[in-house]
Symmetry: C2
Subunit: 181 residues, 2 copies
Amino acid sequence: MDRRKARSRDEIFNAFLILLKKKRYSNITVKDIIDEANVGRATFYNHFETKDDLLKSFCQKLFEHIFSPEGDCDLPIELDMRYTLEQRLVHIYYHFKKSKKDMLSILKSEDADIFWGIFVPYIKKLFEQEFLDSDLPDNYLVSFYAGSFIETIKWWLNENMATSEKDMAEYYIKAAKLEEK
Amino acid sequence: MDRRKARSRDEIFNAFLILLKKKRYSNITVKDIIDEANVGRATFYNHFETKDDLLKSFCQKLFEHIFSPEGDCDLPIELDMRYTLEQRLVHIYYHFKKSKKDMLSILKSEDADIFWGIFVPYIKKLFEQEFLDSDLPDNYLVSFYAGSFIETIKWWLNENMATSEKDMAEYYIKAAKLEEK
DNA sequence: AATCTATTGAACGCTTCGTTCAGTATTATG
DNA sequence: CATAATACTGAACGAAGCGTTCAATAGATT
């Protein structure tokens, strides 16, 4: 890809993040973004169709990084073997905490619902292969666990992530009563 | 209250509901609303500060009705004694199903996140007095249960509410492993 | 009957949107 | 290096919505 294009894209993403820390999504205008990014108006619309389109790309980038199965993950080794559910949970929590400063401002904003909405499918994927031994409908359980997981992450954010990742995973498994026998 | 005022208010709420069934919230303009409601522009702004303000009032009315502890509730008697958690759950499910046609169009829309966001505090109140016997933080559990409850209601809506209220309550208690004893 | 209150709808200024275009700068390529 | 292709610029534009104002009208309340 053309260097210029990549650069502009980065600038816009960057500006968007900076603005999200200052004000809520719905109050950010395209003019705000291009001013902060030092980019022409036409350039913005050359990259993204609308502001919502930018949001979507932005979240995808953010979440894909968090949920990337391997790759550029600098997790301590013992946390990186995500075989048990607990370990996989810790992995997610870890990434959340790592992006704490970004996450906090985005996911606690007044418009946070928009972000969480985009977040849900990723979480569901996390639970999809589990819990097939129940007599409840599969999708029901996926919804059940995804919902509780997300809402407890919100709790975590509101507590300023004071609880450790390991404790969070323990909490979750205890609350959901998922102890391996 | 002046009859005229009440009437205008009703007309606006009504028009809003009709429009919500046709298009997503963010695409509804104030002009749409006043046209549908047959009401002057100034009248709208005499009642509500903004479109968001209308949404808020609208949801409050909707949810307060659902969560009203007693009163104008025509539930079959055996469902109306909401002493156990199960019975209280059934009560909520019942009201959801009763407002099915409204709920479906609103809560499955693309902007549904906005509505669910307003919905969460009500659900949390439902769980607040429960589960104080755990060694997990109280608020953590409230978040846990509220999150799973809401997400499973979404599942229910997506299945067109094919499952009965009683089964839904059973599902929930089973998934959360809340069997008494 | 007299007073108070709500509705009306056109008009206004303002903000934001998304597009266009001609001119300029940067990059990839051969 | 020369050339073609691509990207950026920024002003300008029309369209859409917003929220407000006001004088005139109609309806409630006592």
